[in-house]
């Protein structure tokens, strides 16, 4: 259940002067009508604040995504280096032993 904040008196929407306020944006504290109030993670937000939060979330996701990808590439590269040296060295010595 999403809580609807109570306002002290009759207010109108910050974006629509002809509509009564239904909720407050928890970030900018502007009164919002039913059409402008968007519930997001249990709280009401106006469109600009919602867009700002979404952009921030995308940036965070993008950073972690890049970091994970970079770590994956580095781990695969390290594996390739050590396996390349270790396995090929062993095989070369083994084959030389069989050859002689």
């Amino acid at each position: 259940m999403i809580p609807t904040p109570k306002t002290s008196g009759p207010q109108t929407c910050a974006y629509h002067a002809d509509r009564p306020a239904h909720a407050l944006c928890v970030t900018c504290r502007k009164p919002l009508c039913r059409g402008c109030a968007t519930p997001w993670e249990g709280i009401f937000l106006c469109a600009p604040c919602l867009a700002a939060r979404r952009t921030a979330a995308e940036r965070r996701g993008s950073f972690w995504g890049w970091l994970k990808l970079a770590l994956g590439i580095a781990a695969a590269a390290a594996l390739a280096v050590f396996l390349g040296a270790w396995v090929s060295g062993l095989l070369a010595e083994l084959l030389a032993g069989i050859g002689s």
Partner: protein
Amino acid sequence: MRDRLGLGELLDRAANLVAHELPERTALCVLAVLPWRLLQVWWAHRLIEISSTATQHGGYLISLSLWTVAALPLAFWGRAQLARGCSIALSGEDASLSRSRFGLPWRAYSIGLYAAMVAAALYPAIGWLIFTVPFVTLYSGLAAASAPYQEKPGLVAPLATAAHGFGSPRLLAGLWFTAGIGVLVAAIQLLVMFQLGLTAVQTMFGLSDVWWEQMLSLDNRLYVLLILAGACLAVEPFWIAGLSIIVQRGRARASGDDLAGWIAELAEADEAARAEAENAA
């Protein structure tokens, strides 16, 4: 409607793509693979030289391996650019790529590089079983061929993108066989070319240089390895183009684009026939 792609058709389209449809500068991107191939040659040469005492040279082997792996990002960039050029040519867009469209997005490149690095680790891990080499080579090639389409990183992503493109195992076997024969033929041609060049120089200038004869002899291991690397480099664009065709076909099948295209063709033909009938009336 969803007819199977035959090996002959695939090879024809790949050859046509590389020879006629790819812009020269995209085709030249394959030269970015050269440093990686040369380092592989040097690595193999030194490994054979120290073979009997290889395990005593752990640090040296690691440094050789490190240099080879360090050259992979550039090599993969060349391969991925080639694949991107192929994908643009296959989509029927203007092949004369503008500067902005020439570049592969960084994210797609990184996702592809991740898969290519895993393939590089798979070569020593399971490549010694010999029969696994074609599979790892296929995976490595698909990592490049599917790079222009990747949005999310994943090790099965290159295979998943191409899965619908392989009509039958025979196509895959045929592609492997043709690539193997192609490398062999290219190696023989390179050998003959160098021998002819040496003979021509000796005949024309009356030189009898023993050093060059020794260098370009099949007894010289480094020369043989370089010839093999050159042959791989010559076949590489056709291999990537072939895999790009398979990936593009797989994507069209998975998304239903091929059926949509077919329906559009039918509708066009229907429209043309109707217009013709109206004109005749």
